[in-house]
C-alpha cells in the first residue's frame, strides 16, 4: 500500500524537501568535475559518491537537469545486442535497472513489457538468430520466435504490414522494458546530491585547461575550477568539448526525432521494433504511443522537427496497425545523437590525462545509463578502464578494431 502518501494528507505544509540543492557559489576546486547533468553524468556522480566515497564532485550543466537526450529518448531498455562486449555491458545495465527504483526511493515506472525486434527478410532472421545465440551464451534471455508467437503478443497487429513487408519472425527479448526517462535523471541527481555532490545548473563550460597533456582546470561561465579529473558526458555536444582538449574523435552529430500520440486507453503491451520499416513503438503508462524511426540523414546540431519524419513514421505505423488512422499525433521533438562508425559508444580514458570521455551514445544511450555511471566512476577513480568498457575505447579506431553493433543498435541502416 502506498502508505507514504498518507503523510501528505496528514501534513499542513507540503512535507517534501528540495531534490537538488541550489548552490550559489562554485568552489575553486573539486576532485572531479563532470560536464553534463544528464542521466550519464548524474549516474557517474552517484556511483562516485556511493561506491567510491568521492563526494568532492561538481556536475556542471549548461541548461537544466536532464534537458539533453535523457529527456528526449523513447525510453527503451534492453540488452539484446550483437557483440560479446555489447551484450555483457547492456546486461549489466539491465541488472542495475531492476533495482534502481528501490535504490532511489523513487518510482521510475520501470515496466518490463517484452521486446520484439521484427524480421521481415531472411537476412534479418539470420541476424536475429545470431543475436539470440550471443545473448544466450552470456545468459541473456532472448530467443527467435515465429509469427504465431508475435500475433499472440500483439493480436491487433497486421503481420503482413499492409502486404508490403510480411513479418517472418522476431527476436523476442523478455527483459525488454520502458521507464520514465526524466525520473532517472532526478533519481540519480537526488541520490548524488544527498551524498554531497554539487549539481550546478545554468553553468556553461567555456574551456578546459590542458597543460603538458594533463587536465588542470575548467573555465566556466561562473568562474574557474581547478581539477585534475574531468568526465565529459554531454552526448550531442561532445565534439565541442573534445575540441577544447584538442582530441580527434569519429563522433558525428545527426538529429534523432521522436513523437507521441495523444493518450489512449491501454491496448499495446509489448515493445515492437522493425528494422526493415525503420520504426518502433511502445505505449507509456500515460497511454501515449511513443514512436521513433531512423536517424536524420545529414549532420545538424539542432533539435528541430520535420514533416517527412512524422509522415513516414505514421505511414509505417499504419501498415502495422491500420486502425490507428484517426488517432492524433500530439507532439514531436528531437535530440542530437552523437553517432560513431560502429554504433558502439566511446568510453573511458583518452590520450589527455585526466580527461575521461563518456560519449558516442548515438541512439542507444538511455538503456546504458546505470552501467555507464558504474563503469565511468570506476574508470575515473582508478584511472583505468573498467573491464566492461575495454571494447569501447577511443583507441579502437586507431587500431581498426571496431565493435560492430550496427546490427543491433538503431533502426536506420
Amino acid at each position: 500500500m502506498p502508505w507514504r502518501l498518507v503523510r501528505f494528507a496528514m501534513s499542513k505544509k507540503h512535507p517534501e524537501p528540495r531534490m537538488f540543492t541550489q548552490h550559489d557559489t562554485l568552489r575553486r576546486s573539486y576532485d572531479v568535475v563532470i560536464i553534463g547533468a544528464g542521466g550519464h553524468g548524474l549516474a557517474s556522480a552517484y556511483y562516485l559518491a556511493r561506491e567510491h566515497g568521492i563526494t568532492n564532485v561538481a556536475v556542471l550543466e549548461k541548461g537544466y537537469i536532464g534537458g539533453g537526450n535523457t529527456g528526449r529518448n523513447t525510453t527503451i531498455i534492453r540488452s539484446n545486442y550483437l557483440t560479446p562486449e555489447g551484450v555483457q555491458f547492456y546486461d549489466a545495465s539491465v541488472k542495475l535497472w531492476q533495482d534502481l527504483a528501490q535504490d532511489f526511493d523513487l518510482n521510475l515506472f520501470y515496466s518490463t513489457r517484452g521486446h520484439y525486434t521484427l524480421a521481415h527478410t531472411d537476412s534479418a532472421m539470420r541476424t536475429m538468430r545470431w543475436r539470440a545465440e550471443v545473448n544466450k551464451h552470456y545468459g541473456v534471455d532472448s530467443e527467435v520466435v515465429g509469427p504465431s508467437d508475435i500475433q499472440h503478443a500483439a493480436p491487433m497487429m497486421d503481420l503482413s504490414c499492409g502486404g508490403v513487408a510480411p513479418i517472418l519472425g522476431a527476436l523476442y527479448h523478455a527483459p525488454g522494458s520502458v521507464a520514465r526517462h526524466d525520473a532517472v535523471a532526478w533519481g540519480y541527481g537526488r541520490g548524488a546530491d544527498q551524498r554531497g555532490v554539487e549539481i550546478h545548473q545554468q553553468t556553461e563550460v567555456l574551456g578546459i585547461d590542458v597543460v603538458g597533456g594533463k587536465v588542470k582546470g575548467v573555465k566556466t561561465s561562473r568562474g574557474y575550477i581547478s581539477t585534475n579529473k574531468v568526465l565529459c558526458a554531454v552526448a550531442g555536444s561532445t565534439p565541442r568539448m573534445t575540441d577544447m582538449v584538442g582530441l580527434r574523435t569519429p563522433i558525428y552529430i545527426h538529429p534523432l526525432q521522436a513523437m507521441v500520440s495523444e493518450p489512449l486507453k491501454a491496448w499495446l503491451d509489448p515493445i515492437l521494433v522493425s528494422g526493415s520499416l525503420h520504426v518502433y513503438i511502445s505505449q507509456s503508462a500515460r497511454g501515449e504511443l511513443v514512436m521513433g524511426a531512423s536517424l536524420d540523414p545529414y549532420e545538424l546540431h539542432s533539435t528541430r522537427s520535420t514533416l517527412d519524419f512524422v509522415e513516414g513514421l505514421s505511414a509505417h505505423m499504419l501498415e502495422m496497425f491500420p486502425f490507428l488512422s484517426q488517432v492524433k499525433v500530439m507532439r514531436q521533438w528531437a535530440g542530437m545523437a552523437d553517432m560513431t562508425p560502429d554504433f558502439a559508444p566511446v568510453m573511458g580514458k583518452t590520450p589527455v590525462e585526466g580527461f575521461y570521455l563518456d560519449s558516442g551514445w548515438g541512439t542507444w544511450g538511455f538503456k546504458a545509463t546505470p552501467i555507464c555511471g558504474k563503469t565511468m566512476s570506476h574508470t575515473v577513480v582508478n584511472d583505468t578502464n573498467h573491464p566492461l568498457i575495454t571494447g569501447f575505447t577511443l583507441d579502437r579506431f586507431r587500431q581498426f578494431s571496431l565493435t560492430g553493433e550496427k546490427g543491433a543498435a538503431s533502426v536506420g541502416h
Partner: protein
C-alpha cells in the same frame, strides 16, 4: 437555450440534425458544433476531468482545452467544441467509468489530499506490487479507447505554392492578405474555423459597426483574384523553408510559401480561483462565440470577471443578445475604458473594482455554477480572505483577464520573443527571414491597430516574396502601429485559497498549490516544472 437570429450566425435553422450523447437524443442545426448543440439543449456537464473526474463544461469553445472530448466508435478523441454535428452519431465522453453522469471515478476527488503533485513518483514502486499498480495507472490514464476494427483511412495529399501564406483570417490576417495581393502577390489565407473573420465576428462590444467592417473586409478578400481563402483549414506546423502542412477535412496540402504572415491571434487565459472549473464558468470569448456564431445563450444570469476592455465588451455583447448580466467584477482599481463601464452601469449592471472572485459556488448537485463569492483582490501571494465576501447568484461566469499569443508557428520557425510589460505578454523580438507577425500574436489588440498591423505585415511579406511594386507607397506602412492604451492582460489574475481546487491546467487537473509544491521540491526551472507536474503536457498542449 437558442437565441434570436443574428445576421452573422453560422447555423442554418432550416436544417436539423439528430444525434445522441451519453445515450440521450438531441437535435441541433447544421453549422452547430457538438458542444454548441448540447449547450443549446441545456446540457451543462459535457465531460469529466482527467485526474479528479470533476464535471466539466464549456471553457474555450475553441479547441484550446479538452473538457469536451468525445468518442463514437472509430471517431476517437473528437474535440466537440470545434467538430460539426454528424447525423445519427452516438457520442460518449472519454475516460469515464460508467458514463458522465454517474462516473464512479469521481470519488478520486476525495482522495486529493493523498495525491500531491508527482504523487506517483513517491510510491507504487515495490517490485512485487508495481505490475498491479501499473495496471491500475494504465486503466485510469488514457482518454479514448482505440477501436481495433477502425478502418484505415488514407488521407490524400497534394502540394501547394504561393507567394504569401497568411495564417489566420481575423481582422489583421484579412488586412495582411488584401495588402499583399494588392501589391501583386499570390496569396493563400487559411483559418482553422469554419468561417473567416476571427474575433471580428464575435468580439463586438454590442456594436455592429465592427462586425460590418470585418465583413466588408472579408468580402473584398474573397473577391480578390489573387487570394485563395481556405477555412476549416489548420496550419498544422512550420517546417524549414516555409513548408506548412494545411490540414482540412479531406486532405493535407503541403504548402510552400515565399513569405509567411502569422496572424493567429491569442489564447484567452482563465482566471485562477477556487472551483474555476465548474460548468458555467467559461472564457468570455467562449460566451461570445456561443452567442454570435451559434445563437446559443451561455446561461440565464451572467457575471463577468474582467481585467481588460474585452470583458466590458463581452458584457455588452451578452446584453445585445438579450442575456441578463448582473455584475462586472473588475480586478483593477482603475482603467482607461471608463465609457464602457458607464454604459453598463446605465443598463443596470453593477461594476465593482479592485475585486475578484474568491470562489465559484456550485449548485446542490455540484454540476453547475450557482453563485460567485466576490471579495477584495488580495495582494499577490496571499490567499483570499473568505470571511468578507459577498455572494452573487449566477449560473454563468465569464472570465476576461488576459491573453497569451498563439505563437507556436513563430516558435517553430525560430523566432526569439521578448516579454513586453506594456501588454503583459511575449511578443516577437527577432523574426526569421520571410516570417512576419501581426495582430494579437504581435501584441496588437486595439481594433484599428490590428488592421494597420495587418497591412504592415502584408506589405513586408509581399516585398519579401518579390513584389516591391513602388518604394513610394511603402512609406505608408512604415509607420509604427500605436502602442496599446493599456495592457489587455492582467499580470496575476490568480487568487489563492486554502481549500484549493483553483485550476491552472484544466487538461491535467493541476491546481495552484501543485506549482508551489513542485518548486519547493526543486523543480524551479520552467522545463523541470513542466516535466515534473505535467503542466502543459495534456492533449491541448501548445494552446495556452
Amino acid at each position: 437555450m437558442r437565441l434570436a437570429e443574428h445576421a452573422g450566425e453560422w447555423i442554418d435553422r432550416t436544417k436539423t440534425l439528430d444525434f445522441s450523447y451519453e445515450g440521450t437524443r438531441y437535435r441541433g442545426f447544421a453549422g452547430d458544433t457538438i458542444t454548441s448543440a448540447l449547450w443549446a439543449s441545456e446540457v451543462s456537464v459535457l465531460g469529466r476531468s482527467f485526474k479528479y473526474h470533476r464535471p466539466r463544461g464549456v471553457l474555450s469553445l475553441a479547441n484550446h482545452d479538452v473538457n469536451v472530448m468525445l468518442q463514437d466508435g472509430a471517431r476517437i478523441n473528437v474535440r466537440a467544441d470545434v467538430t460539426e454535428l454528424i447525423a445519427d452519431a452516438n457520442w460518449h465522453s472519454v475516460n469515464t467509468f460508467g458514463g458522465v453522469a454517474g462516473d464512479r471515478a469521481r470519488w478520486i476527488g476525495k482522495l486529493a489530499p493523498f495525491l500531491p503533485v508527482g504523487f506517483y513518483y513517491k510510491a507504487f514502486y515495490s517490485k512485487r506490487w508495481f505490475p498491479r499498480w501499473e495496471r491500475m495507472f494504465r486503466n485510469m490514464t488514457g482518454l479514448g479507447q482505440v477501436a481495433l476494427d477502425a478502418p484505415h483511412i488514407r488521407t490524400p495529399k497534394r502540394y501547394g505554392f504561393c507567394d504569401v501564406l497568411v495564417i489566420g483570417a481575423g481582422p489583421s490576417g484579412l488586412s495582411a492578405a488584401l495588402t499583399a495581393a494588392e501589391r501583386g502577390a499570390d496569396v493563400v489565407i487559411v483559418d482553422e474555423n469554419a468561417r473567416s473573420g476571427g474575433s471580428g465576428t464575435y468580439q463586438l462590444g454590442g456594436d455592429n459597426a465592427r462586425f460590418h467592417t470585418v465583413r466588408a473586409l472579408d468580402e473584398k478578400v474573397r473577391a480578390h483574384p489573387r487570394i485563395r481563402v481556405q477555412t476549416s483549414t489548420l496550419a498544422a506546423a512550420y517546417y524549414a523553408d516555409h513548408w506548412v502542412p494545411l490540414v482540412d477535412a479531406t486532405r493535407i496540402t503541403k504548402m510552400r510559401a515565399k513569405a509567411i504572415v502569422v496572424a493567429s491571434g491569442a489564447f484567452e487565459q482563465p482566471a485562477v480561483f477556487r472551483n474555476n472549473d465548474l460548468p458555467g464558468v467559461m472564457l468570455a470569448s467562449a460566451a461570445q462565440r456561443l452567442a454570435y456564431r451559434y445563437s446559443v445563450s451561455p446561461g440565464e444570469r451572467v457575471v463577468v470577471l474582467t481585467a481588460n476592455a474585452d470583458g466590458y465588451r463581452a458584457a455588452l455583447d451578452m446584453l445585445a443578445r438579450g442575456i441578463v448580466v448582473t455584475a462586472v467584477v473588475e480586478l483593477r482599481a482603475s482603467h482607461r475604458f471608463g465609457e464602457l463601464a458607464h454604459e453598463l452601469e446605465a443598463r443596470g449592471v453593477e461594476v465593482m473594482t479592485s475585486s475578484c472572485v474568491v470562489e465559484a459556488v456550485p449548485n446542490k448537485a455540484g454540476d453547475r455554477l450557482a453563485a460567485v463569492r466576490i471579495g477584495a483582490l488580495p495582494p499577490v501571494g496571499t490567499a483570499a480572505v473568505s470571511t468578507s465576501t459577498r455572494e452573487i447568484k449566477c449560473d454563468t461566469l465569464l472570465m476576461s483577464v488576459g491573453w497569451a499569443p498563439a505563437a507556436n508557428l513563430l516558435y517553430q520557425a525560430g523566432t526569439s520573443m521578448r516579454y513586453d510589460k506594456t501588454v503583459e505578454q511575449f511578443v516577437p523580438d527577432r523574426l526569421p527571414e520571410g516570417v512576419f507577425a501581426c495582430g494579437r500574436v504581435n501584441g496588437v489588440f486595439s481594433f484599428d491597430s490590428k488592421l494597420q498591423d495587418g497591412r504592415r505585415a502584408g506589405e513586408l511579406a509581399a516585398i519579401h516574396s518579390g513584389h516591391a511594386a513602388s518604394a513610394a507607397t511603402f512609406g505608408e506602412y512604415a509607420v509604427i502601429v500605436p502602442a496599446e492604451p493599456e495592457s489587455p492582460s492582467h499580470a496575476w489574475p490568480i487568487v489563492a485559497h486554502a481549500a484549493g481546487k483553483n485550476f491552472v491546467d484544466f487538461d491535467e487537473d493541476l491546481q495552484l498549490k501543485d506549482f508551489a509544491n513542485a518548486v519547493q521540491e526543486g523543480f524551479d526551472n520552467i522545463e523541470l516544472l513542466k516535466r515534473f507536474s505535467t503542466n502543459g503536457m495534456g492533449p491541448s498542449q501548445g494552446k495556452h
